[in-house]
Point group: C2
Chain length 463, copies 2
């Protein structure tokens, strides 16, 4: 354990609540807490208590009682940070929280920086770097899929796989470097066939992980879906119908109001971000063409486009709909497009038949009655490869990991090429070292202060 | 202990943070927690653990891991509610919080209603009613004074005083009722002199407590201060100067922006609510007279009025100032009025002398340089009777208590009158019983469901 100064921070969300938790960590954590704590059984001292025990008493500033609290004691190395940790569970008033933190600051603590508790856990070997990063992901997870990925990563699923491959590669690297020492004797310690097999295995794993990033990224950030449609074709009703399917708004995107329906909805555990757009009918009107330009900007950002129209207006506006659909298809040939005829409860079968003949890919829906909603959610889910998720496969969501994996992949390709072309051992050793370096970046065996600073700055204070 | 169903709620403020705490209470709390918990030392069961211990493990829904958590176990009667209590300290993601609560709901818990944990603490005799009420006050306390009062009340300072008087009174009531049984023999078990002394003591205490309510009320809610002054006389600068004195905005009042400077500032531990008003100069303009009407409405609500003017304009506008001051004094003869000449750093001594001669009560100030600010804060503090606060006297802040004290006081006056006029014992006994009833209302010895419902509905859920 590294002896460090003692840090303090509020660990629970700010604001008033029933209780709040203030966390101290460091070699003086128990001593400092003790100096401000008076147990209900007056003579009890926190220093003499066992780890993982809870004590009722008062936080005292000189003779003034600040609050009645529960104090939890964790002794190193059996704590989150691996240091001595004390958690004060106090009444959840902003005033009390601040008074207690101020008191500890006056008594020798320092305010923790963002992520510093988890940084210490990493430095003390309680977590590897990718597990530490998963803590932040876990806290910000807001749907089942992102939660599951973060949880898996925190439990070491992904980094242990990387660590194992790294170890095997390191083993071969040592053998090849050993060969260099006996260069004149022309021996081969490293079995080239086995080595090739390992490189192929690594290539396979890296490729799978790298490919998973696309899925991971949409899962982490939600899949943007643009809904193109004129006012009153039923966009809000459709969103509400999708919501009812799941009965949970994940969040409203900051800065938008309910009126412009930009909602994030969790469907089958995956977050979808629905972006409302205006229609795109041809116009000479300047104001309207600005609107159309904006619609296209929004479609640019989306991964899926839903074209929604009111089927009671199909007869009157068919040619317009077809022109608009062609426009979208031509502009975005690669982007998944779902065409929905809404309000089909208000038209008859003959009319439906006409629509289906003229626009074969049409999907019938009544947001009002719920008809076709399930089919739509299935279609949305099928658009992303959720197979990996269902099979509990490792998915990469962190762009830092993605970057390191790409670099490692590149180096491994060089090693492979070296093996195929009988490259000399000394040159190959350089490529292997480079690959090892990028593996190490992921788990944190290779770090530098800037990197750590960047990673932990994204944490909230108190974690 | 009353065996009740097991309740669950989030105890920490909602929102994402480093950690969140979910609280269970009830006879099945430990059993239910155990069924969803897998200790890191796989065979450990929560039921076998000592009270006040903490256990690391995972919350499991079937085979799915929801989170790595710390579980605190409190066994009855050694818990907040007096029942078995389990606290789950999980990662502070909204998603995780909800998943864990949902899991417990599916496994036999019921969602706690507002204040239900504290209600159970009261029902199980862990707190009396006024102490329970103090918990809510403590959580909402946002300055030193309100915090100190709530803390004192929670520690029983006020209710133990009432309980003691109630007991003595109850004693006399019994003796007087005993006399009724021996009415024909004309005996006096209750010593009338001692009884008179007790009644006087009670009267004295009640009067002090009742009087303290005025102070308590302003401390709890902040003291409204109207600042009357034209634009640009330096209202914002003055508020900033007061702020700098204390370096803490308590809060901005909801619905107002920084522009209309309605700020709550803590001065010497007391909250002051500053209300910006327009000037009140005489005018024929319709719009302006509406403004003046509003100014007077705001002065109506305030307990203190500050009349602020720009001393560089004194020469030009003196007569207007004097008319306006007269207007305020005539309309509010009882309301404390502080007259401030701002910007005195910009005028010379001769001009100051003229001002002081014409408006003797004037207070010189420069919000810019800070001159006179301390004198102003002292003046504001002196306006309220903070003596009681400094002397650690009991202060009533709760209008329910105030109401019961007033009623008890009324009944005690009847008893006193009865004693003075040699009223018959049976009539006096009725008055005494009434007084006892109102005493009991405060500490909760006399309650009904409606009352309890009202009190605890003001709590947050999770407390």
């Amino acid at each position: 354990m590294i002896h460090q100064d003692t840090i303090v921070a509020l660990a629970t969300p700010s604001g008033a609540g029933a209780i709040a938790v203030i966390r101290l960590s460091g070699s003086d954590a128990i001593k400092i807490a003790d100096s401000c704590f008076q147990s209900v059984t007056a003579t009890k001292s926190l220093s003499n208590q066992k780890t993982h025990t809870i004590h009722l008493g008062h936080i005292i500033d000189d003779s003034k009682t600040i609050d009645e609290v529960l104090v939890s004691v964790f002794k190193n190395p059996n704590s989150y940070t691996g240091e001595d940790v004390v958690e004060i569970s106090c009444h959840g008033s902003n005033y009390i929280q601040q008074e207690i933190i101020q008191l500890f600051l006056r008594n020798g603590c320092r305010m923790a920086t963002a992520g510093e508790f988890t940084l210490r856990a990493f430095l003390n070997g309680k977590l590897d770097l990718s597990q530490a990063e998963a803590v932040a992901d876990l806290i910000s997870s807001d749907n089942e899929a992102s939660h599951q990925i973060a949880m898996q990563q925190m439990r070491g699923g992904f980094s242990s796989e990387i660590a194992k491959l790294r170890e095997e590669l390191l083993n071969f690297a040592s053998l090849i470097e050993l060969e260099l020492d006996f260069a004149e004797e022309d021996v081969e310690f490293a079995d080239r066939t086995q080595f090739k097999a390992l490189i192929e295995r690594i290539t396979f794993v890296l490729k799978r992980l790298i490919d998973s990033f696309a899925v991971g990224n949409v899962i982490k950030n939600g899949i943007p879906v643009a809904i193109v449609g004129e006012p009153n074709v039923g966009k809000s009703t459709l969103l509400n119908a999708l919501l009812n399917e799941e009965r949970a708004i994940v969040s409203e995107i900051a800065g938008t109001t309910r009126d412009t329906i930009e909602d994030e909805i969790s469907i089958g555990g995956i977050g979808f971000r629905f972006i409302d757009t205006a229609g795109i009918r041809d116009t000479k009107d300047v104001v309207e063409s600005i609107g159309i330009k904006k619609t296209f900007e929004k479609i640019d950002q989306a991964q899926v486009v839903i074209y929604l129209f009111d089927s009671t207006q199909f007869e009157a506006l068919e040619s317009q709909f077809i022109v608009e659909l062609e426009k979208i298809k031509n502009k975005y040939p690669q982007k998944p497009l779902i065409v929905i005829a809404n309000k089909i409860d208000q038209i008859d079968d003959t009319q439906i038949a006409v629509m289906q003949k003229d626009i074969p890919e049409i999907q019938l829906l009544s947001a009002k009655t719920g008809f076709g909603v399930e089919q739509l959610t299935n279609k949305l889910l099928n658009l992303i490869n959720t197979g990996a998720l269902r099979n509990n496969e490792t998915i990469i969501t962190n762009s830092r990991h993605y970057d390191s994996l790409l670099k490692a992949f590149e180096e491994i390709q060089k090693v492979k090429y070296g093996l195929d072309t009988d490259l000399s051992g000394d040159l190959m050793a350089i490529d292997i070292r480079q690959a090892l370096y990028h593996f190490g970046e992921i788990t944190g065996e290779i770090t530098n202060d800037d990197l750590l600073g960047n990673i932990f700055a994204n944490f909230c204070i108190g974690k």
